[in-house]
Amino acid sequence: MKAQNQELRTTKTRFDSAQRAYIQEINLKQVNKSATIFNIQRFSVHDGPGIRTTVFFKGCPLACWWCHNPEGRSSENEVINGNTIGTIVTVDELMQEILADRVFYEESGGGVTFSGGEPLAQASFVKAMLMKCKENNIHTAVDTSGYVSKASLRQVLPFTDLFLFDLKILDPVKHLKYTDVSNTEILDNLEYLFANNATVRIRIPVIPGITFTAENLDQIAAYLRKFEPHPEVNLLPFHRIGESKYNRYNIKYKMPVQKEPNHEEILKMSSGFRREGIPVKIGG
């Protein structure tokens, strides 16, 4: 604690005094100092600008059919085939790992991305991490499903430079079918972020027949049009992963076998965004 305060006094910070006061308050409270993660990926280049370290938090309220990271669903550590999935880390430990690549963030305009799972399911820890990053002038991104409490969002908002916000399906019924949750709260949270001038990038996974339909993409485009300035949309190409990964976690892989759309098809299908003047990019 003493060391941290020392650091706070001596570190040059870029943010304003209101934020500083808030940090001190949080530090005093000694909020959650550990979290469960399942991976730290250095040299990530598709999770926000530049070269990034992406931290994958364990636990997700959604159960998307196409999920790549079924190991991220349960919030508990699991032992799979003799390997423990999930590690408990402290703020300081994680910070040390993040700071290791500082030179790459600085050269590339990169930083750190908190992803998952759903990072905001462990919001107080993420907030503590974000604050540490901002103390160190590291760009921060939070990759969220949006299915989180408003309080969580409110906590991290002042320290998050970029939200990577997953928007899968606009139709609430279909959303429930394919992800296990309704999108009402998700859309509400997205609007909250826009209302609070957060920088948001919309991420849509390209899942043929589910998210990747003309109807869904046009609906999303029409929905996003009302936000000014229009957020950038990233279409994330989908690669089918083997069912074996699912079997290991005792989760049923519901994804039907489908042809992966090529670049041209994605371009064509996403014309609605361009029509609405919404910047759209294939890939993160």
Binding site: V45, G50, D101, S108, G284
Partner: protein, 786 residues
């Protein structure tokens, strides 16, 4: 590509290399002639040079724009019997070896049997070396502790600066004459003889160009195609003008350099052939002037450059003798064109010629010349993006160098700021002051082998011989520090032997094999009246190249972690496991591989040991004087020697099985790095590159990673980040393992598949099976992690 270039390229890449006895015969004629017996060595060598150039076949290939061949024809490679002598067996091996065969005909064998072998047996530089080198040296050499560069080729390892673009040979002769006058007055006969030799050599190259002019005029006379006729006449004019006079056009500049190049590689077979160095800087003024005066178009300039490129590729590395003839099939001769960097005033040197040359490199896709890009913090990102487009194609070129680190390296050892800025890297990764320095690679040094010998108290377990010194029974070591101390003593012992050997060899070359022609070209040999081989250059460095940094770090980390700290196993247990090559110890081996700190993961536990080894290596070498009046320096590069060194090194504590390759350059051991490229770069940057004369770091990417803009941009930033941390060099292999497997199965279909090996690129199908496997392994590993 225009048809003429396609044709020349085809001739160059499809002609089967062969051995020509032409040079051997001409050299023998001079050495046999009693008239020359009493001459001083520099003069005799100059006369030899002149005799070769005056009598060798003049070759002008159809359609070419730049003329001059070392042998009688493209890919016809001369031999250098005064340095090392091929036996008939060698010629047979070279002819029949599966990879990169060099053909030789009955006539050549006859000449060798009747004239060359009888005369040179026992008289070569190599013979003299093995007569003079002490037994301890020979013992360590045959144990595979180090290799020796100069046993088959003289030092070489130098690069030209801009002087030939300002001076003709006649100007050099003026300089030689004034030095001659000076030393005649002081009565320094040795210097007078040296300068006499230089003068003969300067005149010889002018005559050689004139012989080309004669041949071109003759060809022009019988040429029916009007355009080609004019071209031949023009080329004849150029050959009459350069190298006697300084060049005044783009074409003249290229032709001038090429005569110099052929001269240097005809005089002897120097390491790394020769190299124009900062070609974009040298050519720019000629290009701009010719364009401005309407004498040249961009297209024509490109055509001339492409014709120039083919000339390099026509000249394979001279084939080896003995065991190396069987085992080494390196075909490239390491001429490394430098692009970018900074000018002598320190400003950004990237210019339109840089981009034009990158276009040429991309289009030609030839093995030779090799190419590198210097990157300074002052160079624009646009330049980096351009060459990443070439790297992305998987051709292994250009490799990427840090100008700002190179400059620091040179300043540290006392070179002037201008000389440092005008320098670069050559060969694989070696730092040098171009045109002013003899920076010689003397041999690779097998660092892990020294640990193996330490763990056996001085005995080489492969042979059972006492090869090192007694540094204590490792089972008696109470702490890891004791082990490190023993290792350091053993390192000092072997490096002492190597340095002593270098000094003996240094003198042999100075006495037996002066190079008066090369000495004209490298400052300040003329003014000093001293040969390049005798310390005539402004700066003189001798490098010893450390191999296996990744392996040694992991080996020491494993000993420290498992034997001394966690006591997973006793020292005795470890030694038994190693002795048995982990037979019945597979579970323990897996622990060594998977549960031990390893270099390449940005983990200080292992990386601190890398630093410790570096300090030991550095202290034993850096600043040790050479007989030429220069100093020994370190660099860390393997070429392909990590495979050979691995083949003489038994199982080691990092879990590496006996006789398998060591880690290469400063890259992590195969499979040791598990945290991706940023962690590798962080580990590699913990070595103090500025105190080396070059390091080599290999990075691998799948083609798909570089397909995407984010991937390309990330590579740009990786380069910038590594260089901000003073990293010296980084190279990228971009190829799928699948493609390499296919090439192994059907080599015929993948003849032009070029991959990055280590500091250079080579045709994949020409690599030894072991090396092919190793590259596939590297590639597969990366496919998994990306």
């Amino acid at each position: 590509m225009i048809p003429r270039i396609t044709q020349l390229r085809k001739q160059s890449t499809e002609t089967i290399p062969s051995i020509s006895a032409e040079r051997a015969q001409l050299v023998t004629e001079v050495y046999q002639n009693p008239e020359y017996a009493g001459l001083s060595m520099p003069v005799k060598r100059a006369i030899t040079f002149r005799h070769i150039l005056n009598n060798k076949n003049i070759c002008i290939n159809p359609g070419e724009l730049i003329v001059g061949e070392r042998g009688p024809a493209p890919q016809a490679c001369p031999t250098y019997p005064e340095i090392c002598l091929h036996s008939i067996d060698d010629l047979d091996i070279l002819r029949s070896r599966k990879k990169v065969p060099f053909d030789s005909d009955v006539k050549t064998h006859k000449i060798y049997t009747e004239q060359i072998i009888p005369f040179w047996e026992g008289k070569t530089v190599r013979d003299e070396m093995f007569r003079q080198l002490p037994d301890a040296w020979k013992e360590a050499y045959s144990a595979g502790v180090f290799t020796e560069f100069m046993e088959q080729r003289p030092p070489g390892h130098t690069v030209l600066d801009d002087k030939i673009y300002h001076k003709g040979m006649l100007d050099f002769i003026d300089e030689i004459n004034s030095a001659l006058q000076q030393y005649k007055q002081t009565g320094d006969q040795q210097k007078v003889e040296q300068l006499k030799g230089m003068k003969i050599a300067a005149n010889a190259i002018i005559e050689f160009a004139n012989r080309h002019a004669d041949a071109l005029e003759e060809l022009a006379g019988s040429e029916n195609d009007a355009a080609r006729k004019m071209e031949l006449q023009k080329m004849a004019q150029i050959c009459r003008k350069v190298p006697a006079n300084k060049p005044e056009s783009f074409w003249e500049a290229l032709q001038y350099y090429w005569f110099i190049h052929v001269g240097v590689i005809t005089e002897v077979n120097p390491w790394d052939s020769f190299n124009p160095g900062r070609l974009d800087q040298h050519l720019l003024p000629f290009y701009q002037k010719d364009i401005a005066e309407g004498r040249l178009t961009k297209e024509r300039a490109k055509e001339l450059l492409q014709s120039f490129w083919v000339k390099f590729n026509n000249h394979p590395a001279p084939p080896k003798i003995g065991v190396t003839a069987k085992e080494s099939n390196t075909y490239t001769d390491f001429a490394l064109i430098n692009l970018g960097g900074v000018k002598s005033d320190g400003s950004d040197a990237v210019n339109e010629m840089t981009y034009l040359l990158l276009d040429v490199i991309e289009e030609m896709r030839l093995l030779q010349p090799s190419s590198m890009v210097q990157v300074s913090k002052k160079n624009p990102d646009q330049y980096i993006r351009r060459f990443i487009e070439i790297i992305k194609t998987g051709y292994g070129q250009p490799s990427v160098f840090n100008t700002d680190a190179i400059i620091q390296e040179m300043l540290r050892v006392g070179k002037s700021i201008e000389d440092a800025r005008n320098g670069g890297a050559s060969g694989c990764v070696e730092t040098g002051a171009f045109g002013k320095e003899a920076y010689i690679l003397t041999g690779y040094f097998n660092i892990p082998k020294v640990l193996e010998i330490t763990l056996n108290n001085g005995i080489d377990p492969r042979t059972g011989k006492m090869t090192g010194i007694e540094t204590g029974n490792p089972m008696d070591f109470k702490s890891f520090d004791e082990l490190m101390l023993a290792f350091e003593k053993q390192m000092n012992h072997f490096l002492g032997i190597k340095i002593n050997g270098n000094n003996i060899i240094d003198r042999i070359y100075a006495k037996m094999l002066p190079v008066p022609f090369l000495s004209i070209l490298i400052s300040d040999c003329i003014q000093n009246g001293k040969d390049y081989h005798d310390g005539g250059a402004r700066y003189n460095s001798s490098y010893i190249q450390g191999v296996g940094m990744g392996s040694i770090s992991d080996e020491l980390a494993a000993l420290k972690y498992h034997v001394f700290e966690h006591k997973t196993i006793s020292m005795q247990g470890m030694l038994v496991a190693l002795k048995n090559d982990f037979m019945d110890y597979e579970e323990f081996r897996q622990k060594l591989l998977n549960e031990t700190p390893k270099y390449g993961n940005d983990d200080d536990y292992a990386d601190d040991l890398t630093r410790a080894v570096f300090e030991i290596y550095y202290k034993a070498i850096d600043g040790k004087p050479t007989e030429r009046g220069g100093y020994h320096r370190v660099n860390l590069l393997p070429t392909t020697c990590h495979v050979y060194f691995g083949s003489v090194t038994g199982a080691m504590p990092d879990g590496r099985k006996a006789w398998t390759p060591l880690s290469e350059g400063i890259s992590p051991a195969q499979g040791a790095d598990r945290k991706g490229p940023t962690a590798v770069i962080k580990s590699a940057a913990k070595i103090d590159h500025v105190r080396t004369g070059g390091t080599l770091l290999n990075q691998k990417f799948t083609p798909s990673f570089l397909e995407d803009e984010n991937g390309k941009t990330a590579v740009l930033h990786l380069i910038r980040s590594y260089f901000r941390l003073d990293g010296h060099h980084i190279q990228f292999n971009v190829v799928k393992a699948e493609t390499l497997r296919k090439a192994q199965k059907e080599p015929g279909k993948y003849r032009d598949l070029i991959v990055r090996v280590a500091g250079y690129s080579d045709y994949f199908i020409n690599l030894t099976d072991e090396l092919q496997e190793e590259i596939i392994l590297r590639t597969e590993q990366m496919n998994g992690s990306n």
